[in-house]
C-alpha cells in the first residue's frame, strides 16, 4: 500500500503538472505577443502593486464587494498556513508549525479567517443571487458559483478536519473555538474516538482534494486573476495617462486588426480579467445603451484569442467579427473603464488601437468623416475657415496680443469650440476680459492656431493628428512665453501630454488654475456670494486624465457657493459623451445621452440650480441637454468664469 507521504507527493506533483500545463496554455499567446517594455522603474511598479493589492485601493471604491473581497483575500493569505501544514505534515514526517504557534495563535487565526471567508462567501452569494448588480450582466456566473463552492469546500473540510482531530484526541483547545465547538457537538452525539479518528482522516483527504481541485480548476477560470493580477498590476503602463502609445511601426501599419498584433501586456490584460464589470458600470456608452461594454470587449478578445490558440475561427476577423465597428465608435475615451479596473486592465487603449486600423482602412463613421475632412482642410472640426478663428475677438474692447509677434507671459491656446461655437464664445470673451482687467500679460495665436488634435488622435486618425500637432508646435515654438493656458481640457491634454511624442514638454495650465492664482493674489474677486447651491462636473481630460480636481472646487468655495457634489464626481466623474471624437459622430443610437443622464443626476440632488462646468464641450453638451430635457427653468449651465470678476 502507498504510504501517505508518497500518495500526497504523487497527487501534488500530478496536480501541479496539470495546473501548470493549463496555465501554460493560457499564457502561451501572452508570451508570444509583440514586445513592449514594462520593466522600467521597478520600485515604483512594486510599490504600486503592493499598495493596490495590500490596501485594496480600487476594490474598496465599491464598499460591499471590496469588503468581501478583502475578507476572502486576507483570509486566503492566512489559510495558506493551513495548506502548508496539511501538505508539509504529509510530505515531511514530523513537520509542524507548532513551533511557531501552529497550535496557538496560528490556529486561532485560521479559525478566525475561515469564519471570515465563510461570511464573505455568504455575502458574495447574496450579492450574486439577490442584489444582482447590473455590472455582472454578461459575466460568467457559473464560473463564479463554482469557485464559491470550491472555496467553501477548502474551508469547511479544513474546519471539520480539525474538529475531528480535536474530538479524536478528546482535548478541546481554546485556540480553536470553532473546531472545539463542533467537537463538543460530536461528543453529544456519542461519537467514538475511533470514529472521530476516521473522520479526521476522511476530512484530511477531502481538504487535500479540495485544494488540489481548486488548483486544477483555476487556470481555466476568471479566478486565475489571483495569480495573474499582481503581474498585471506590476507591468501596468506608467506613461502619463493622457499620452497614447505610438501607432505601430512601418511594418505592421498603425493599429491592430488581428489579435496577434496586441502586445504581450495587452494579452496579459485579457487573461487577467475578473469579469467584475466595474468598467461596464462606469462606461457612459454602455449607460447610453450603445453597443459597448468594456468588459465584453475584453472578454470577447480573450475568448477569440483562446479559440485562435485552438486553431478555431481562423477566418473570423477581429474587427467587424469579434468586435463590431459600432462598438469601437461608441467609446468616448473618458478613461473611466481603465481607472476603475482593480487589476489595471486597459479596455480603452485597445479600442483606440482598433480604431486606428479602421481609419487606416478608410472605414470611418460617416459624420466623423466630414469633421476629419474639415480638420485636414481648415484645421478645425466645424467646417469654418481658418482665418475666422479669432473672429470672436472683434467683440472685445481691446486687442489681444498676437503671441506670434510679441513676447507674452501667458500663451492662450483657445481651442475650436471656444473660438467658433457661439454658445462658448460668450465665455471666451469673458475670460479675455477678466485676464485683461487683472493685468495678465497674455496673447493668442490667431489663425496660427489649429485644433490641438487630442480627440483626432483618439478617433484613430494618426495622420491628421500628426499634421495638426506639428503645425501647432511650429507656431508655438516661434513664440516667446512662459506658460500655455487653455480653457479646454482636451487641448490641455494634447499640449501637455501628447506633444511629448514630438519631444515637447510645455508647461500648460488650465484656466481654473490661473484663476485660482489670480484669486490668491487678490487680483480677482468672486461674484457676489449668495451661498446658493451648485454642483460641478469634472471634465474627463481635466480630472481623470490630468488630476485637475481641486482648483475648480476651490474657486467655487471662495466664490461663496455651496458645492453639492454629484455621486459620480472626481475620478468617478461621468463623461458628458463628447470625448474621443464622439461630438463629431451621430449619437442618435443612444437611448439616453450621457449628458442628459448627468443633468438628471444633478436635478436629483434636489437643491441644485446651477450646473458648473469648466470645459467648452461641456457648455455645448449640457446646454443642449438642458434644452432637450426642457428643464431650463430648473437648472442653468454656468462656466467657471461666471463665478468670478476682476477686482
Amino acid at each position: 500500500m502507498l504510504s501517505t507521504q508518497f500518495a500526497v507527493f504523487l497527487l501534488l506533483a500530478a496536480t501541479l503538472a496539470v495546473s501548470g500545463y493549463r496555465f501554460y496554455k493560457v499564457l502561451a499567446p501572452v508570451f508570444r505577443g509583440p514586445a513592449v517594455s514594462r520593466v522600467d522603474h521597478p520600485e515604483q511598479r512594486a510599490a504600486g502593486t503592493v499598495a493596490d493589492i495590500g490596501l485594496h485601493r480600487r476594490l474598496l471604491r465599491k464598499r460591499y464587494s471590496g469588503t468581501l473581497h478583502a475578507m476572502l483575500f486576507f483570509g486566503f493569505l492566512f489559510l495558506f498556513s493551513a495548506i502548508i501544514q496539511a501538505f508539509g505534515s504529509a510530505l515531511f514526517p514530523g513537520f509542524s508549525l507548532a513551533a511557531i504557534g501552529g497550535a496557538s495563535w496560528i490556529a486561532l487565526g485560521q479559525e478566525f479567517f475561515a469564519a471570515l471567508i465563510l461570511i464573505a462567501l455568504a455575502m458574495a452569494a447574496y450579492q450574486r443571487a439577490v442584489l444582482k448588480p447590473a455590472r455582472f450582466e454578461g459575466s460568467n456566473s457559473r464560473d463564479a458559483w463554482t469557485i464559491y463552492v470550491l472555496v467553501a469546500c477548502v474551508v469547511v473540510t479544513m474546519l471539520l478536519e480539525s474538529a475531528f482531530h480535536l474530538a479524536a484526541n478528546g482535548q478541546p483547545s481554546a485556540w480553536r473555538p470553532i473546531g472545539s465547538g463542533i467537537a463538543a457537538l460530536f461528543g453529544k452525539l456519542d461519537l467514538s474516538q475511533s470514529a472521530a479518528a476516521q473522520g479526521n482522516e476522511l476530512f484530511y483527504w477531502a481538504h487535500i482534494a479540495a485544494v488540489l481541485g481548486f488548483l486544477i480548476y483555476i487556470p481555466g477560470s476568471k479566478h486565475r486573476h489571483m495569480f495573474l493580477a499582481p503581474f498585471n498590476i506590476y507591468f501596468r503602463n506608467l506613461q502619463p495617462k493622457g499620452m497614447l502609445s505610438p501607432a505601430g511601426d512601418a511594418e505592421t501599419g498603425p493599429g491592430v486588426s488581428d489579435i496577434d498584433q496586441f502586445n504581450w501586456k495587452y494579452k496579459l490584460d485579457l487573461v487577467s480579467c475578473t469579469e467584475c464589470g466595474r468598467c461596464q458600470e462606469a462606461c457612459p456608452a454602455h449607460a447610453a445603451s450603445l453597443p459597448l461594454s468594456p468588459k465584453k470587449v475584453i472578454m470577447n478578445l480573450r475568448d477569440h484569442m483562446f479559440e485562435r490558440e485552438q486553431g478555431k475561427c481562423a477566418e473570423v476577423s477581429l474587427i467587424g467579427g469579434v468586435i463590431k465597428e459600432e462598438t469601437l465608435w461608441a467609446c468616448t475615451t473618458c478613461r473611466a473603464c481603465m481607472d476603475v479596473c482593480p487589476v489595471h486592465i486597459e479596455p480603452m487603449t485597445k479600442i483606440i488601437e482598433m480604431r486606428r486600423s479602421l481609419v487606416e482602412e478608410g472605414n470611418v463613421e460617416p459624420m466623423l468623416q466630414d469633421s476629419l475632412a474639415s480638420l485636414q482642410r481648415n484645421g478645425n472640426s466645424m467646417g469654418k475657415p481658418a482665418r475666422q478663428r479669432a473672429k470672436w475677438t472683434r467683440d472685445l474692447g481691446f486687442k489681444i496680443k498676437d503671441a506670434r509677434e510679441e513676447p507674452v507671459d501667458i500663451l492662450w491656446f483657445v481651442g475650436d469650440f471656444a473660438s467658433y461655437d457661439p454658445r462658448v464664445q460668450r465665455i471666451t470673451l469673458k475670460v479675455a476680459e477678466v485676464l485683461q482687467e487683472c493685468g495678465v500679460d497674455f496673447g493668442i495665436l490667431y489663425d496660427g492656431e489649429q485644433n490641438s488634435g487630442n480627440d483626432v488622435r483618439r478617433t484613430g486618425e494618426e495622420g491628421v493628428f500628426e499634421m495638426l500637432a506639428k503645425q501647432n508646435i511650429e507656431t508655438i515654438d516661434g513664440c516667446t512665453f512662459n506658460r500655455i493656458m487653455t480653457t479646454d481640457p482636451h487641448s490641455l491634454n494634447a499640449l501637455r501630454q501628447e506633444y511629448r511624442l514630438f519631444g515637447r514638454d510645455y508647461e500648460v495650465v488650465h484656466y481654473t488654475q490661473l484663476l485660482l492664482e489670480l484669486l490668491e493674489e487678490g487680483k480677482l474677486v468672486t461674484s457676489p456670494a449668495d451661498g446658493s447651491v451648485v454642483t460641478y462636473h469634472d471634465p474627463c481630460y481635466l480630472g481623470r486624465y490630468n488630476g485637475g480636481f481641486d482648483a475648480p472646487r476651490e474657486i467655487i468655495r471662495r466664490a461663496g457657493y455651496h458645492l453639492h457634489e454629484m455621486g459620480r464626481c472626481r475620478e468617478n466623474s461621468f463623461c458628458c459623451g463628447a470625448g474621443g471624437g464622439r461630438i463629431w459622430m451621430d449619437d442618435s443610437a443612444s437611448v439616453e445621452r450621457p449628458s442628459e443622464s448627468r443633468i438628471k443626476e444633478a436635478l436629483a440632488l434636489g437643491d441644485v440650480g446651477v450646473f458648473v462646468v469648466a470645459c467648452p464641450k461641456d457648455t455645448v453638451m449640457y446646454t443642449a441637454a438642458v434644452q432637450a430635457l426642457g428643464v431650463g427653468d430648473r437648472i442653468a449651465v454656468k462656466d467657471m468664469i461666471d463665478l468670478v470678476r476682476a477686482s
Binding site: M367, M382, D421, P422, D586, A624, Q627, A628
Partner: protein, 317 residues
Amino acid sequence: MKILVYIDLQNGVPTSLSRELVNGARGLVGSGGTVDLALFGADASVAGDLGADRILHGAAPSDYTSARHGAWLDRAIDESKPDLVLLGYTTSGLDLGPAVAMRRDLPLASYCAAVRPGDGTVEVDSSIYGGKLVSTVSAALPAILLINAGAFEEAGASAAGSAKIVELAAPDAGAEASISFIAASTPDPNAIDITKASRLLCVGRGIGSEDAIEEAREAAELMGAELVGSRPIVDAGWLPKERQVGKSGRKVKPKLYLSLGVSGAPEHIEGMGSAEFIVAINTDANAPIFDHAHVGAVVDVADFLPAFKEALGKKAG
C-alpha cells in the same frame, strides 16, 4: 447592320431609356438594317409601339435575376445574331452586359455617350471619371455597348403591331438556377426626402407639446410644406428621424424655411443655414435663430399657429 436592344421594364412597361435605345438603334442601322428587341417577362405587346422589326420574346417569369435574364439574352443573341447589343447603363445593364460579354468573348464598352459604327468596327465615346473625361474607343463587331441615358432621342410611338413577335425557346432550367428570386421590395411611398422639398416648416422644442405637432402639420399642409423638426423633437419621438434637420439629421436648402420654436443651436444651423429664405418664430428675442433668419417675430408658437392657419385658410378660400 443588325442591332439587338435589351428592354428594361419598369412597372411592366419599357423604360424611357429603353425607348431611347430603340430609337438610337433605328438611326444607326439605317433603312437597310434591322432592329430586334429582347423582351423578357411581360407580354410582347408592351413593346409593340417602339418601332422595332422583331420582338424576340422570352416567356420568362417576370421577376428579374441576372442569371435568368442572362440565359434568355443568350437565347436572343443566338436568334438575332446582331452586330451590336445595346443595353442601358443601368443596374440591369451593368449586371447583364459584362457577364454576357465574358461568356461569349465579345468586346464591351460602357458609359457610351455616342456610337459610330464603321466597317466591321464600332467607335464609341465613353464618359469616364464621372463625365469629366471623354474616352474614344473602338471595338471589333460584334460588340456589346452600355449606353448612357440621353445619348439618343426618345422614340415617339409608332404604329403598334408592326413588329414581328418571335417566341424564344426557353433556356436550360439549370442556366438560371444559380440565383433565385426571393422578394422584391419597393421604397416606402410615404418615405420622404426632405432635402428635395422647396418649403419646410420646422418645429423645435418651443412648440411645447406633442399635440401641437398636429396643428403644425395642418399648417404645413396649408402652405404646401413638409413638416420637419429639430433634434429634441425627433428625440422625443414626435417626428421620425428622416424628418430631422441638422448636423445629425439632414442638411436642407429649401426656398422657404419657417421655423417655429427653434432656438437655433449651431448643429441645427449647420443643417439649414443656407436655406434661401428663413422665417423664425420664437419667444426668446435672443435666440440665435434670429441671427440667421431673414425675417422673424418674437411670439409664442401657441399663439402664432392658429392665427397663421387662419390666414392661410383665408388665402386658400
